[in-house]
Structure formats: structure tokens, C-alpha cells
């Protein structure tokens, strides 16, 4: 039986987030001290060896990313925390910031030391205005106690643009521009904020860092799935008995998340599908539920781990209607910079509405498949590349539901 394991949420409910002494009493900021006693090459090697991979969705080796910025020559470098969690059904980063802001600050300060940065930013989604003061209080406390030394952190608020979760769009937004993704390369570790080497990591990624430094890379690498070790926070929504959150090792299966931790489906209804990773995630049928949630296992079944959002729907739901709503989301959130996404999301939404209203046919489904495939490799950023996934996977696994709506 799978068990919960709390690393990033280790202090949840145990400390007063506004009291730095509570965090210090749990051993807080000792990892920063330990990191600063190491030379930066050894520190980065340790993070690399832990095999911590980015928790924002792309799954890149964190230590490797840091090494690129550390090796870049520049008069200024930046550390940015991506706190723009906008994936519908996701609130894990809020949990961390709301309950343990210092773990984030400590993780960022360790990164700043490793790459040689003195300025950090937390890009906080505009929907969390109540967290601005929590974060600023924590930053000021760490500063006053001299814990973060010359490292400054400023909180910047987003303003309701899903695409700003993409790291280069986020950087554009901090620079005070429209949050449109940049062409890559160059990647942010070589040219990021104001063209300087920049590390952008997710809140959950940074929250892992102090524990990795405290307990060592080998300890961390041994937890969960070896290719994507550690834990992951899952937030459960939709038709599920326990609409709450869990932090579990990455070798936990989707079935365990839904039926053991989630407590299964309310009432006497049967499971229909689960969408993992946020609204851009694949819809997964019952037959694939024994897949471990780790990054590569999910890729192998044509799904993603993404943010860990877990949206469950029961047999009574109209899955075509849900996919239509999601297509509307992407039409709204496409930034419009590249044509495949701007046009593709609009046409996908149009075709989905047509089918959903009973005016569609198999021809429309074929068009959706073709359009989705083209978007998945031709869109500029992850938004457009992932947008077709809910449509394509519902067509793949629930074709009969589409056929039932044909003219």
C-alpha cells in the first residue's frame, strides 16, 4: 500500500508561516549555511546527482540547468521562481508559499550562491494577491536576520495570463512587456532576464533543494522512481471523494492516487477518465491506471505528469462537453504570437463546439486529429504543443462518445 511522504510539504501545519523562528526551529536555513560552506562546483554536482528534475512540467535535470548558468560569464545573473501556477486544478505552489514561504526563499538563495546571482524574483500569479504580503514578510525576515546575505528577492505579480507560466514569456512579463514566449535558443541559463544568465525554477523544485542539501543526493535519488526521483504533490479535483492534496513518491501509480488516496468515485458511479498534469494533460482511461506517475512512465502512455493536477470524471459526465470547455480555455489563453497556436486553438474550439452541439461528423474528428498533430510539433511554445492533448486523447480513448454526438 502506497504511503504519503512529505518533502516539500514537510512543514505544512507544523509552523507559523509568518514566524521565521518556527522555520529555524525545524532546521531551516541550515542547508543554506551548509551549501555556502561548499564550493559551487561541488554544490551543483550534488544537486545534479540527486537527479531532481524540474517540477514545473518539463522535467529537466535541475543541477544540469544550474551548471549552464554557473558557467556563463556575466556581470549579473538572476534567479527566478516561477510561481505562476495557472494549470486548472493545480494549487500545489500556493500550498507551499502559503504554509512554508521560507523553504522557497532558502531554495532560491542556495541557487543564487551556486550560480553567482545577487537578485531574485518571485513571479507570483495575479490570482494570489493575498500571498504578496506573506512572501514579503518572509523575505524581510530572512534579510533582517542576515541569512540570505547580499541576495535580494522581489515579488512581481502576474496579471492573468496562462502563457506566462512558460519561462520566456514569464521573463518578458517581468521586463514589463506582453507575456509572449521567445524563440529558443538562446535558453534562459545563457540569456534570460534582461539578456543575462537566468535560472527559472518552479516553486516545488526550489522547495526540494534545502532537503536535498541536508540529507544528500544519494538519499533523494533513492526515493520513488529512479529516473524521476523524489516526491510529487498531487491536487485532486472533479468526481473524487477526497478533493484534497497528497505528496507521494514518484513510483506511486495513477490507480493508487485516484482510488487509494483519492478514495475513489462518489456515489455508486464508475470511473470514466482522469486527466493528469493540468488542463493540457491527456485523459487517461481505466486500462492505463497502473502506470507510475513518474515523468517518463507517463510519457510512455502518451500522457504527462505536468503540475500533478488530477481531474477525475465519472461515467455520468459528458467527456466531449468537458473537452469542448478545455478547447475554449486554450482559445482564450493562446497569446497569438505564432499562427499554428493562434489559429489552431480557435479552429479546434470551433470544431469541438460543432461536434458537441450535434452538428459534427467523422470528418470533423479527422480534421481535429490532423490539426492537433500539426500543432503538437509546429507551435512555438509548450502551450500550443500541449493544447491538442485533451482532444486527441479523448478521441483516442473515448471515440464512442464522439460518435454518439454525430449528426
Amino acid at each position: 500500500m502506497a504511503e504519503e511522504m512529505r518533502i516539500v510539504l514537510r512543514n505544512y501545519g507544523k509552523i507559523d508561516p509568518l514566524k521565521i523562528d518556527d522555520y529555524l526551529a525545524q532546521g531551516g536555513y541550515k542547508s543554506l549555511e551548509k551549501a555556502r560552506a561548499m564550493n559551487t562546483a561541488d554544490l551543483i554536482a550534488e544537486v545534479k546527482k540527486s537527479n531532481l528534475r524540474g517540477r514545473g512540467g518539463a522535467g529537466f535535470n535541475c543541477g544540469m540547468k544550474w551548471s549552464f548558468a554557473a558557467g556563463a560569464q556575466a556581470d549579473q545573473k538572476y534567479v527566478i521562481c516561477n510561481a505562476d501556477e495557472g494549470e486548472p486544478g493545480t494549487y500545489k505552489d500556493r500550498l507551499i508559499m502559503e504554509n512554508d514561504p521560507h523553504t522557497l526563499i532558502e531554495g532560491m538563495a542556495i541557487c543564487a550562491y551556486a550560480i553567482g546571482a545577487t537578485q531574485g524574483y518571485i513571479y507570483l500569479r495575479g490570482e494570489y494577491p493575498f500571498l504578496v504580503s506573506t512572501l514579503n514578510t518572509a523575505i524581510n525576515q530572512a534579510k533582517e536576520k542576515g541569512l540570505v546575505k547580499d541576495f535580494d528577492i522581489e515579488v512581481r505579480s502576474g496579471a492573468g495570463a496562462y502563457v506566462c507560466g512558460e519561462e520566456t514569456a514569464l521573463i518578458e512579463s517581468i521586463e514589463g512587456k506582453r507575456g509572449e514566449p521567445r524563440f529558443k535558443p538562446p535558453y534562459p541559463p545563457s540569456e534570460g532576464l534582461w539578456s543575462k544568465p537566468t535560472i527559472v525554477n518552479n516553486v516545488e523544485t526550489f522547495a526540494n533543494i534545502p532537503v536535498i542539501i541536508e540529507k544528500g543526493a544519494d538519499w533523494y535519488a533513492s526515493i520513488g522512481n529512479p529516473a524521476y526521483p523524489g516526491t510529487k504533490v498531487f491536487t485532486l479535483t472533479g468526481d473524487i471523494n477526497n478533493r484534497t492534496f497528497f505528496e507521494v513518491p514518484t513510483n506511486t501509480t495513477i490507480r493508487e492516487i485516484v482510488f487509494q488516496f483519492g478514495g475513489g468515485i462518489p456515489g455508486d458511479k464508475k470511473f470514466k477518465a482522469v486527466q493528469i498534469g493540468g488542463t493540457s494533460g491527456a485523459f487517461i482511461p481505466d486500462a492505463l491506471l497502473d502506470t507510475p506517475v513518474a515523468f517518463d512512465s507517463m510519457s510512455a502512455i502518451g500522457a504527462t505528469l505536468g503540475s500533478g493536477a488530477t481531474f477525475v470524471i465519472d461515467e455520468s459526465r459528458d467527456i466531449v462537453d468537458v473537452a469542448t470547455r478545455i478547447a475554449g480555455f486554450f482559445e482564450h489563453e493562446s497569446c497569438g504570437k505564432c499562427a499554428p497556436c493562434r489559429e489552431g486553438t480557435a479552429r479546434t474550439a470551433e470544431l469541438m463546439e460543432k461536434i458537441n452541439e450535434g452538428r459534427g461528423s467523422n470528418k470533423d474528428v479527422t480534421l481535429l486529429e490532423k490539426l492537433g498533430t500539426v500543432m503538437s510539433y509546429s507551435c512555438l511554445c509548450g502551450l500550443g504543443q500541449a493544447a491538442p492533448a485533451p482532444v486527441l486523447t479523448t478521441i483516442k480513448h473515448f471515440k464512442a462518445d464522439y460518435e454518439a454526438k454525430f449528426v
Binding site: S157, A159, A161, Y162, D239, R243, H332
Partner: protein, 147 residues
């Protein structure tokens, strides 16, 4: 404070135009045309660029709207939790349709995508403050807090 004083507080802050827009929003609930022109001057952008930034982000409005901005989440978790019934209750209570403002200038009613409170759907926010597990029956009392 008038708009010039608000914007002046962010003068010299790199990339600070978005923070200035947030501050203007807190005061006026939208971005008046003359404030956008002033922001363009302070941050050394063309008026078109400053306008382009204002219209890119869904929280910024370039049109006058009600003082208290009521938003309802229409993302999938809220959608399946009965958001449509809450929308109907809001429209009934305020006597306006989604996307409109009340004639007295007190309320604006808008859709939003996920606001990150999915443990308790459906969710509405008023001026950024979340209300959780909202049922249509609770709407009159929530709105009354801002009357």
C-alpha cells in the same frame, strides 16, 4: 491619489509598468486612457506598446467597469462542480449579464480561468478575494458584503 502620482511611484523600476497598472487598477478598477498614455511616457514606451501591454493581460481592463470585480472560474474543475448555476445566480442577483457592469458602477461581472482554489469548487472571487464551495443560495449574501 491621481493617476500621475500612482504611476510616478514606479518610475525607474525596471519593467515596472505592470506593477503600476496593478496599482491603477486598485484605485480605478480599470486603466483610463490618459493613465496608459502617462505610463507610456514614464516607462519610455510608445502609447501603442503601453496599450498592448494593458490589453494582453486578462486582469487589466481598458474600459470603465464596476468598482467591485466579481469573477467566476469557468475552468474544468469548477465547470463540472456546477459553475453554470452560480453564473445564473450572479446574473440574477446583479441584474446584468456576464461581461457587464451594474448601472450604479458598483459591480462588474466577469469570467476567469482557474484561480487555484480547486479544493473547494466552484469558486468566485471578489476583488481577488476567493469564496469557496459557492452555491447559488450564498450569492446574495456575498454580494451584500460589497453593497
Amino acid at each position: 491619489m491621481d493617476y500621475k502620482e500612482i504611476i510616478a511611484q514606479y518610475d525607474g523600476k525596471a519593467g515596472g509598468i505592470i506593477e503600476a497598472y496593478h496599482a491603477l487598477l486598485r484605485e480605478f478598477s480599470y486603466l483610463p486612457e490618459e493613465a496608459i498614455a502617462e505610463a507610456a511616457r514614464v516607462f519610455k514606451l510608445s502609447t501603442a506598446e503601453a496599450y498592448g501591454i494593458a490589453t494582453f493581460y486578462s486582469m487589466f481592463s481598458v474600459e470603465a467597469r464596476g468598482k467591485n470585480v466579481v469573477r467566476i472560474c469557468e475552468s474544468a474543475p469548477c465547470h463540472v462542480a456546477g459553475a453554470a448555476d452560480v453564473v445564473a445566480a450572479l446574473e440574477r442577483e446583479l441584474g446584468i449579464k456576464m461581461g457587464e457592469s451594474t448601472a450604479d458602477g458598483k459591480f462588474a461581472l466577469e469570467f476567469t480561468e482557474c484561480v487555484g482554489q480547486c479544493q473547494a469548487t466552484p469558486v468566485i472571487t471578489v476583488n481577488g478575494k476567493p469564496y469557496l464551495d459557492v452555491s447559488p443560495a450564498q450569492i446574495p449574501a456575498i454580494i451584500a458584503e460589497y453593497k
